[in-house]
Amino acid sequence: MDTIKLIEVKEDILSDNNQVAQAVRQRLRKTDTMLLNLMSSPGSGKTSLILRTIEELKNAIKIGVIEADIDSIVDAEKVAARGIPAVQLRTGGFCHLDAQMVTQGLDALFSKNLDLIIIENVGNLVCPAEFDTGAHKNVMILSVPEGDDKPLKYPLMFSICDVLLVNKMDYLALSDFDLAVLRKRVVSLNPDIAIFAVSCKTGEGMDAWGDWLKKVLADFKQSDNK
């Protein structure tokens, strides 16, 4: 019988996806297009947030949207109805988008000369956190009815995002959601995260979120890392 030998590997399991994600970022640099990956649970308001953001910024910024869904096109239809270029990726049962799928979405939007592309990831707080999509910024929504304990259950998601939008603030008075407790839990995982309390329904906080987005986009376009 052969002797058993030990091989040191030390290789990142996600290195293939990470390389494709890096290529996505480099490609978008050339056209000065910023890619933003929006993640949350189902029903926390991703599509509503995108529609609100379009309303807020469409005169200043050329926006496109990549919608990902397991098997439907309703979200892309809502976005396209506002005159915004949108492409729907059907993940066919997959629970997340990877950089390869995002590349296909970009191919479809390539000729549109956009400033900002927003990815609406599959509604899920687990899997999308593991896969780099190639986005320059990661943004997540947590809605008030979901509860302030979610950072304890899905720590990875909260640790990889640049922005947390706490949506459905109009429900706050009806719930025992504690914004200060949430903030402390999130910041201990991710001290650099920006947190905005918003309501897509009333418009609360949308100006602060819009200002953040305009600022990072301006910084992105100015940075000479091309």
Partner: protein
């Protein structure tokens, strides 16, 4: 559900290194996975058995080492191991300060493997 593409990546890495070392069979694969990641051992093993059945890695055992969540005290900079349940209530065992920051826990590595 993301265990399937993860398992495919693991298998590709394992087969590449088996080839590099002229191995005839992979016996054990050692993985290091951080405490913050949500990978279920049972599914990983099941998918690995399924995907590897016509390869040199058929029957290989996956040994999954969970890497702890390490936090750093914001006040005295001491690093300490933390429990996931403590997020938001981190207490430094050295100075007692209640502000700390997670440093690691996102590891995702094929560390080593045993081959014949």
């Amino acid at each position: 559900m993301h265990e399937l593409p993860i398992t495919e990546s693991i298998l590709n890495i394992v087969l590449k290194h088996a080839q590099l070392h002229n191995a005839s069979r992979v016996v054990t694969v050692h993985l290091q996975v951080g405490a913050l990641t949500d990978l279920k051992d049972e599914w990983l093993n099941r998918y690995f058995d399924y995907l590897s059945k016509d390869t040199k890695a058929k029957g290989a055992k996956l040994k999954i080492e969970r890497m702890p969540l390490i936090a750093q005290c914001d006040s005295c900079q001491n690093s300490y191991e933390a429990d996931l349940k403590q997020i938001g209530n981190l207490i430094c065992p050295l100075c007692g300060a209640d502000r700390g920051t997670a440093l690691s826990g996102k590891d995702y590595f094929v560390k080593s493997m045993e081959v014949e």
